[in-house]
Symmetry: D2
């Protein structure tokens, strides 16, 4: 089927290729003219037959502006799909705004990273049943082969919500492996730490795709000596904790994983300075001066 | 090759079958005569040609007694393998005791649970190179097919150490999924929680064997309505935290997962009663009476 | 000086008495006519000479409505003080709205609970220097005697912010004592748990007002047998964690304390049900059925 | 009464002075002859009339050796008191060894640090009732004035146990304040962070001796600019977590406080390097190279 695709960066560009390889007619727009199929969103709208479907795959910061501009060139019966990393709470207001113009809205959480073009993208979809059905040919081509990798999770917002929780879980999983790595590396007894991780890839309870990747990383750098622990976090981890607080759900593991990222970016911990100050006051404990 | 196998419960019994299917001659002993091949450890020793290898697969509480009894019927050049869930710190003293009699010792952390007979058992091995080499035919038959599932992790103790960390990681992984499950179940937005987990099995960053199992569980009971959250813990989780404390390694995620199991077994939290008492004292806050 | 006081509940009523005892002329309004000095906010405004100062001490849910109504009967040069448990982020928008009418705004975080009437109320104040100065006679009478118990923490919002962090710290302090209580109560060795807490009230590093209160509670009920651990949380704890997430500050202790309150209100943990389900799947572990 | 006192460092030296000021006859021994009253433990024993009481106040690492040596010069009916930071589990074996010679044993957890000489030392005592009674004149003089600061917590070991939990709580309290400090310092809104802490010293729920000390520290260095966050931990915090693991008590707050100290001593977190490695693998995320 026909699809407009706005945003042809690492994700969008790969998705265009995967969709074209599956036989779809994709009209792509990017602000970079070298990779764009059309010169403007208006031209993109013209090239598509009504009712149109346009997939937006742009950085979270410009999603609303992009959708608003797109709404100006689309019309009744068209559908906009947001496949970016939007916060789920932005979806309902957007859908409402578009609905006033008769434009449908679907939110899609997309997982798969740089591996998606080859393996397919896992899709978590929120929106009305009729809109989702219209887009199924696209979803079928983007998702991995086999029976998994796609879910219609609920109404508008549910797709980004599911993706948010996916990423929260991801934080926790990564940190569990990371803590195990640190403990093994600290042990005097285990002499072959990378070998232990490699061995776990089959037959164990902890086998997973992330474990496979950690093995790859240890193959390249057995002591991770080239890397710094300084680690960014993306919005999904923070939103997960915000939701935990709002819904009164105790998320000790995911929150600890997020906080560890915060701490990784500190040169020195202000909290620990306060602890050091207290120890100096009551115990005359020696403290480290800067 | 020939192998003595002591302990023919769920794990040992399946291992005997897997080894025999691979062509090994296994002489099994169990205190239950109905499943035992021999009437005593002495008879087991007689049936094996020197130098013998005897694999002990008994509950952790009786491992030392079993090994001591076994040492009484074995001799110079024989090897004892402990494949049970021993604490790694018990391995070196055992090896030393056996060494005085000329008996070798290997410790093996075994993962795979009830699935191991069919898929193979992941093996983490600690011990001297010469002892490990002698047992390789056995290890090759027990481990999963393919290149993974076996590691010689280091000297005596390293096998159980690696298994301990494996289980610590397992605690953290399970809890990360569990927290994601709780948040999704609490959300007003996601209407198809089991569908979300099922979809994640392909193409996502969080795909894993544990996720496959959680999907299975949700297929059987979509709201986990039949289960209680009361959850036991085994020694490995506790030993992991003890090691973290000993080695000054911050294991926030794994420890939180262990503590959540402790809390799951409490009818009411004594700590929270103290919090409630404090709130009543300073704020006149209403408290719940028992 | 003259002060209007809106809301004469447990907090507001006690504050009226403390202020009158200090010689101030307080005109109180409450929707309960039995305790109100005037019949309406309009009458309250009439009874005060311009420029007026009116302190609002109502539940957080009705603060904005109360302030808006009050703004309708006040005028240029008057000041509204919000002493309730507002979220700090509500203060700046309020101040802006009032500023358009020439009305000043001060936010005050008030600590002290039911003990405040006698001991004084600790006050954390946010607002413009000139507004704070005008109210100093009131602040001086409300605060405890001595050099502490009052701070002008910063511009509008800073008072509620400081109070929010105060309560976040309070959560952590309470939980630290509570954990110590639980461990002592679990110990086979310590036979006099209440005696241990009582002894700590002098000479120790952990002495505090909260410890005094815990000792009181243990005097009344040495095993806290009459209490349930079910514990509410107020907004400040949640806002503290939200701020930690927004500012990328790792607050492991305060967040764990908040999450423990969430967990205290669950009959069974959905997360632990998921853990139990996983254990059943991979290990054939016995699980507890509901 | 007469007391032998072994170890005249910062703690022991101050205690000797406090006891002498109270009229007791203290015979002190230290390996440093300049501060020692006697030349040897044998001379110390000679100078005391039977039945003797000797208080040992030496670093944990040499306590057992000191007690064993002391036992060689004492006899039936004498009592040894260990006031050092011993692990509670060392007490019972010691008491048993001494009991075979007819020597009694008391363990005392001592709190108060450098402030104890002036304010008194809080004492948590474990041992037999008859032994404790004999020492009461000493305890009365060491403890703070007033009704608090002393507890006979239980049999041998209970004193050190109570002190261990005291220190565990102390870790949690310190970290709660420290986190609040970090959040306030990160806020754009609060312009007077030291003033906020100072104000909390009266009238608030969070007032405590530790808060007084933090105020002192902020008076000296308002931004804690001179300090490093690098912070040691002493045995008690680790033993507390070990006990939590042994007794299945969830101590999230105290453990997080201990782990934060571990992390404060790391230049870079090995766990976070593993997280960074994973992010690089699956997302092509930019990572920081060392």
């Amino acid at each position: 089927m026909q699809l407009g695709l706005v945003g042809l960066g690492r994700m969008g560009g790969n998705m265009r290729e995967r969709l074209r390889a599956a036989g779809h007619e994709v009209v792509g727009y990017d602000h970079n003219p070298e990779i764009s199929d059309v010169a403007s969103l208006a031209e993109l709208a013209e090239k598509l037959q009504s009712p149109r479907a346009v997939w937006v795959m742009v950085p979270a910061g410009v999603t609303d502006a992009t959708i608003d501009e797109l709404a100006g060139v689309l019309g009744e019966g068209d559908i906009i799909i947001d496949g970016g990393n939007s916060r789920f709470s932005d979806d309902a207001p957007r859908a409402e705004r578009l609905n006033e113009q008769g434009i449908g809205y679907i939110d899609v959480g997309v997982s798969g990273g740089v591996w998606g073009r080859q393996n397919g993208y896992a899709l978590m979809v929120g929106g009305a049943q009729e809109h989702v059905e219209r887009l199924m040919p696209i979803f079928e081509s983007l998702k991995p082969e086999g029976e998994f990798g796609f879910v219609h999770a609920g109404p508008v917002g549910a797709g980004h919500y599911a993706k948010m929780v996916h990423n929260g879980i991801e934080y926790g999983l990564m940190h569990a492996y990371a803590e195990g790595y640190e403990l093994l590396a600290a042990s005097e007894l285990v002499t072959n730490v990378p070998g232990v991780f490699k061995s776990w890839r089959e037959g164990t309870v902890v086998r997973s795709w992330l474990l496979d990747l950690l093995d790859r990383a240890l193959d390249e750098d057995p002591e991770l000596a080239e890397l710094s622990g300084y680690t960014e976090d993306t919005g999904e981890g923070r939103w997960t904790v915000d939701e935990a607080v709002r819904l009164a759900v105790p998320l000790n593991v995911i929150t600890a994983s997020l906080f560890a990222r915060f701490a990784s970016r500190q040169d020195d911990s202000p909290a620990m300075k306060a602890v050091a100050a207290l120890r100096q006051q009551f115990g005359g404990h020696a403290v480290h001066k800067r």
